[in-house]
């Protein structure tokens, strides 16, 4: 019997190695796998490359991971928000490498990794400083940049419901980056508010099929708070 549900955080975090590329779901604090990030802090892997839309706020979660010096490089679209104090400190101190990627290019690069597409052309960022070093090509009279797939070793995501096959649903705008990150990593670990029986999820409504998910940990924390 396939059973992707794990019973402990330690089990969920098994095998995340130093140097790993870690994709972190969520947009702002919604759909963010907070418990798994705490688990990763506990687990100890370091020298990480983190891919995340934002760069953490306050002193917990991703910000804490940064503060502990565990992240070598961050790839994101919007590191600067109210409360991203830790990131700004270590960035100014030259203690972290930053790769800024436009938000749509960021999600498409991960989608490409999950879909077996090593590179694609996009008009986003043409003529801007984010085009530096990128191949530019004229196609049918418009200029485009070649962007490469961005794959993760690990994805930490948050779901609303999950079953033992790893099928997932999300809630409202908490869907955000989670489904695409699930497809882009070798080891996708989901925290979920609810675990349901196999068959309880409407087959027409499953957003992430279990093929993309290796482990599921139930973390019923209630309602998120926007920080």
């Amino acid at each position: 019997m396939i059973n992707k549900i794990v019973q402990s955080m330690a089990e969920a975090m098994t095998g995340i190695r130093d140097g790993a590329v870690v994709l972190l779901g969520g947009f702002g604090s919604i759909g963010q796998p907070n418990a798994l990030i705490e688990g990763l802090i506990e687990q100890g892997a370091t020298d990480l490359t983190v891919v995340s839309n934002n760069a953490g706020t306050g002193r917990t979660g991703l910000a804490r991971l940064l503060e502990l010096g565990r992240v070598r490089k961050i790839i994101c679209s919007y590191p600067r928000s109210a409360g991203s104090v830790v990131f700004e400190e270590i960035y100014r101190a030259g203690e972290i490498e930053l790769e800024i990627v436009p938000q749509g290019t960021l999600s498409e690069r991960m989608r490409a990794a999950g879909a077996g597409i090593p590179a694609f052309f996009t008009a986003t960022a043409v003529g801007t400083k984010l085009a530096a070093g990128k191949e530019e090509r004229d196609i049918a009279g418009r200029k485009y940049l070649l962007e490469e797939a961005l794959a993760g070793d690990v994805a930490l995501i948050e779901a609303w419901e999950a079953d033992r096959w790893g099928n997932l649903t999300y809630r409202s705008s908490a869907r955000n980056f989670n489904p695409v990150m699930a497809t882009a990593a070798a080891l996708t670990i989901a925290q979920t508010q609810h675990i349901v029986e196999l068959g309880a999820l409407d087959p027409e409504k499953i957003i992430t099929p279990g093929i993309y998910v290796k482990r599921v940990l139930q973390v019923p924390y209630g309602e998120p708070t926007v920080t």
Partner: protein, 219 residues
């Protein structure tokens, strides 16, 4: 005496209302975070305009009543919003495919500068900015069918935001179609801005005095 003393510049709300007036029913529209978000408040509910938020919400409605907040539903500015009847959710990648694919009729962004040729700079104020943050601005500017900019005509220090050539790092080349400022509504034509409307009490001559980019009256 500044030109601004001889006329009545639009307030922020008036600017948002002015943009709202030009959005027809049935359009799919993305409003940039900050000032543009306010535009939605001036589109009457009976005129069906479908607002998109790049974090995967199509058919975004106004802020919820304090006792009816869905804590899983925010907009790109990370504020609580609602979903209108008929709205739907999508993941980030589908959401930006929609943007990049040119399916939005309109995006309204804020900006630091807009050039006469339609170049826009709205994400970073210098080349050595510490921790620049671009978000979805470049995708929206390059992908939307029509880009309008809503911004103050002048910086706090009185410099023109409508320029011959952007000096701040660019967001996209030649993307802007129209600018709504507190002094005027101007179309991008390539060489100079075509002035469609001015704030009450303003003349083209006076407007040109505070505008770096060349202006002409729209015909």
């Amino acid at each position: 005496m500044s030109v601004l003393d001889t006329c009545k510049p639009l307030t922020r709300s008036e600017m948002a209302a002015r943009v709202a007036r030009d959005i027809p029913e049935g359009w799919y529209v993305n409003l940039g975070i900050g000032a543009p978000l306010q535009i939605a408040d001036f589109v009457p509910a009976e005129r069906e305009v479908i607002f998109h938020s790049e974090n995967g919400v199509l058919g975004m409605g106004p802020a919820p009543a304090p006792d009816h907040i869905n804590r899983w539903l925010i907009n790109a500015g990370k504020q609580y919003v609602t979903l209108r009847t008929g709205g739907s959710y999508m993941h980030h990648c589908d959401s930006f495919a929609l943007i990049r694919g040119g399916h939005l009729d309109l995006c309204v962004l804020g900006a630091f500068q807009v050039a006469a040729n339609g170049d826009i700079a709205n994400w970073s104020t210098s080349d050595d900015d510490t921790a620049p943050a671009v978000g979805g601005a470049m995708d929206l500017a390059a992908g939307t069918r029509q880009l309008w900019v809503l911004m103050e005509h002048l910086t706090k220090s009185g410099d023109s935001r409508l320029v011959r050539r952007c000096t701040y790092p660019l967001t996209a080349l030649g993307a802007v179609k129209r600018v709504y400022s507190n002094l005027a509504v101007l179309d991008v034509t390539g060489e100079s801005f075509a002035v469609r409307e001015m704030a009450p009490g303003l003349t083209l001559e006076a407007l040109q005095k505070v505008t770096e980019a060349p202006l002409h009256m729209a015909t």
